[in-house]
């Protein structure tokens, strides 16, 4: 178990400028699944309501996969199952070679998975830099004593992690705001800080739950640019929930459509747009 774990998460030993191939799970894992994430017939219910019914989904390395559908279709539930906040009633979730019925959320980061939340889940009392840094906490080796005694190893680690924070902040144009308390930033910037926190440990899979909700058109375009740039740079895979169909069509490689917890379509943006089932259940004839 331990050895598989170490192989499966290069994030524990960050490699700079990883190429797409390196970001993939190694050798036998890739042969076994061919996907960074695979859901197999995942079902989930709350008190008699079916939130997800036998949903299957494969996400390949370097792919941006959007999940769309009306409110209550099960999109957020899907992300919450993948990140272990909800436990599936049936089905299986695989990250590379690791299989789970219930993903342990506290191990998510170690597994190379990062996420953002629909309603910002930042730490408002901390600065932007500290918020981003918190995304690296799981890699930390030195403890309280190391810090109190200013041991060289602790200092080196601190310096390295600060470097990682600065790098991601630069990529997301957050450098000027690094010392600001997150709670005092405007909403659009907070969303960006949350993306930075998710990206700082260079995950293999990024789960974005409405990352552009509440943004202006310009901010949305900028955010979409950041997501694409992160994918292009490190070959990570993205699951994206977003209501703005324009953004979704422009950004994703594949789109899955959920309706009442059932996957009703899965394909390229053009396929999905023309899918009669999607038009009937979601888009409406007029919009198509």
């Amino acid at each position: 178990m331990t050895s598989a774990l170490l192989r499966a998460h290069p994030a524990a030993h960050p490699v700079r400028d990883r190429t797409e191939a390196q970001a993939l799970p190694k050798g036998e894992t890739r042969a076994a699944t061919g996907a960074v994430l695979a859901l197999e017939a995942v079902s989930l219910g709350f008190g008699g309501i079916k939130a997800l019914t036998a949903v299957s989904l494969d996400v390949k390395a370097g792919e941006i996969r959007a999940v769309i559908g009306p409110n209550g279709a099960g999109k957020s539930s899907l992300i919450n199952v993948i990140s272990g906040l909800y436990q599936a009633d049936a089905g299986e979730i695989r990250f590379g070679a690791q299989r789970f019925r219930a993903v342990p959320p506290q191990r998510l980061a170690v597994l190379g998975v990062a996420r953002t939340f629909q309603n910002l889940a930042l730490f408002p009392a901390l600065t932007v830099a500290e918020n981003i840094l918190s995304g690296l906490v799981f890699q930390r080796r030195s403890g309280v004593l190391g810090h109190l005694l200013s041991l060289p190893a602790a200092r080196r680690e601190q310096a390295r992690q600060n470097g990682q924070v600065r790098k991601v902040a630069e990529r997301l144009h957050l450098t000027a705001a690094l010392d600001r308390k997150v709670g005092t930033l405007p909403y659009g910037l907070q969303k960006r800080v949350e993306l930075a926190r998710a990206l700082v440990a260079e995950p293999r899979l990024l789960l974005l739950d409405e990352p552009m909700a509440g943004m202006t058109a310009t901010e949305k375009a900028e955010m979409a640019g950041f997501v694409r740039q992160a994918r292009d740079a490190s070959g990570l895979s993205v699951i994206l929930i977003e209501h703005d169909i324009g953004v979704v069509m422009g950004l994703s490689d594949h789109i899955a459509v959920l309706d009442h917890g059932v996957k009703i379509a899965d394909g390229t943006p053009d396929q999905v747009r023309r899918d009669p089932e999607v038009i009937r259940a979601y888009l409406g004839a007029e919009a198509a």
Binding site: S83, G84, L85, P105, Q106, R107, L108, A109, V110, A114, R115, F117, A121, L122, F123, P124, A125, L126, E130, L133, S134, G135, V137, F138, R140, V144, H147, L148, Q158, H173, L174, T175, A176, A177, D179, R180, P186, G188, L189, R197, A198, E222
Partner: protein
């Protein structure tokens, strides 16, 4: 982009300003270490400064738990009691030097804090707060019930030994004051380092959004238990100061629920998640009753009996608490920050 450029205009404080900012601290330390021992009278030390130091330390401990880690505790006095009685027994039974007894007392308080912190892994908010009352009542009961803790004395009263370090007697008011002061200074410094370091990020992450903290890999359980253990240890040391340096004769009933609430008031009135808040809050809590009894003495002396005056004081305390909460939700620390800004404003403009 445009959003960010707005901030680059906000200048960071340059290094010289930081030195200037440290000036008040230097002055306070100088007064505390030099002026007070030389100039202060016995009343000031015994009635104000010693309880102030002990309660400040207890406030610091609770603030770590409640302010930084977001776990509310209503049982702080129990850990003061654990600290006091543990140090008493380490001294009595092992004959250890004072610093060693104190350290072991802190360890004992931390251990018991860990046990009573376990519910925090499952419970939140008021459910957790109420469950910490278990510590309050259990510890008080155990200390009363088992004579061993107080070496068999009636109703659990213990008399602290005369204190001294390395043969240096510290039993006079100034000696006990310096002992308390050094202890409080050292712990304050350590705590400052901890909450402003990586561990502080973990604590605040758990407080502000536990789910997010868990998902990004912050060790939530370990962080909570760390907060409970360290907080209890600090409050335990506060108990040692309370028993050894301040009162010198204590009984379990002195660490009752009212004391726990008093420590909670200190933290809330002083300001959550600030180091100085504990000191400001403790100052108010220690000085307020003295001022109040002077005032009631002035107006009601001879008019009302002591029982009535006590009731009036209770009403006044309750009123002040409510007024404080209404006037300044972020506590005295926030008032101080505002004052500083106002003082700095004319210079900047």
């Amino acid at each position: 982009m445009s959003l960010v450029t707005e901030f680059s205009a906000t200048p960071l404080p340059p290094r010289e300003n930081r030195l200037l900012a440290a000036l008040p601290l230097v002055v306070i330390l100088a007064v505390a270490y030099l002026a007070v021992p030389l100039l202060a009278n016995e009343y000031l030390i015994e009635a104000i400064l010693l309880p102030f130091l002990a309660l400040s330390l207890a406030g610091l401990g609770l603030n770590l738990l409640t302010g930084y880690a977001g776990q509310v505790s209503l049982g702080s006095a129990a850990f003061m009691a654990v600290g006091a009685f543990a140090a008493f027994n380490f001294d009595l039974r092992l004959g250890l030097p004072l610093p060693a007894s104190m350290l072991l007392a802190a360890v004992a308080a931390a251990a018991i804090g860990l046990v009573f912190g376990l519910p925090s892994l499952r419970l939140r908010g008021f459910y957790l707060a109420v469950s910490t009352l278990a510590a309050q009542f259990f510890v008080q009961w155990a200390l009363n019930k088992f004579g061993w803790f107080s070496n068999g004395s009636a109703s659990g009263i213990i008399a602290a030994p005369a204190i001294g370090i390395a043969g240096l007697p510290l039993s006079g008011p100034v000696g006990r004051y310096l002992f308390a002061l050094v202890t409080v200074t050292a712990i304050t410094f350590l705590l400052h380092r901890i909450v402003n370091g990586p561990q502080g990020v973990n604590l605040i992450a758990v407080r502000d959004n536990e789910t997010a903290a868990r998902v990004i890999g912050v060790p939530v359980l370990r962080t909570k238990l760390f907060a409970f253990a360290l907080s209890s240890a600090i409050i335990g040391i506060a108990g040692v100061i309370w028993a050894f340096a301040y009162l010198r004769t204590v009984e379990p009933a002195g660490f009752n629920l009212d004391r726990s609430f008093q420590i909670l008031f200190i933290v809330i009135i002083g300001g959550l998640a600030t180091i100085r808040g504990a000191f400001l809050g403790a100052g108010l809590i220690v000085v307020f009753p003295l001022v109040l009894s002077r005032l009631t003495g002035l107006f009601f002396d001879g008019v009302a009996d002591p029982g009535t005056i006590e009731l009036l004081e209770r009403i006044a305390l309750g009123t002040v608490i409510i007024l404080f909460l209404i006037a300044e939700p972020s506590g005295l620390s926030a008032i101080l920050s505002r004052l500083k800004r106002r003082l700095a404003a004319p210079r900047a403009g």
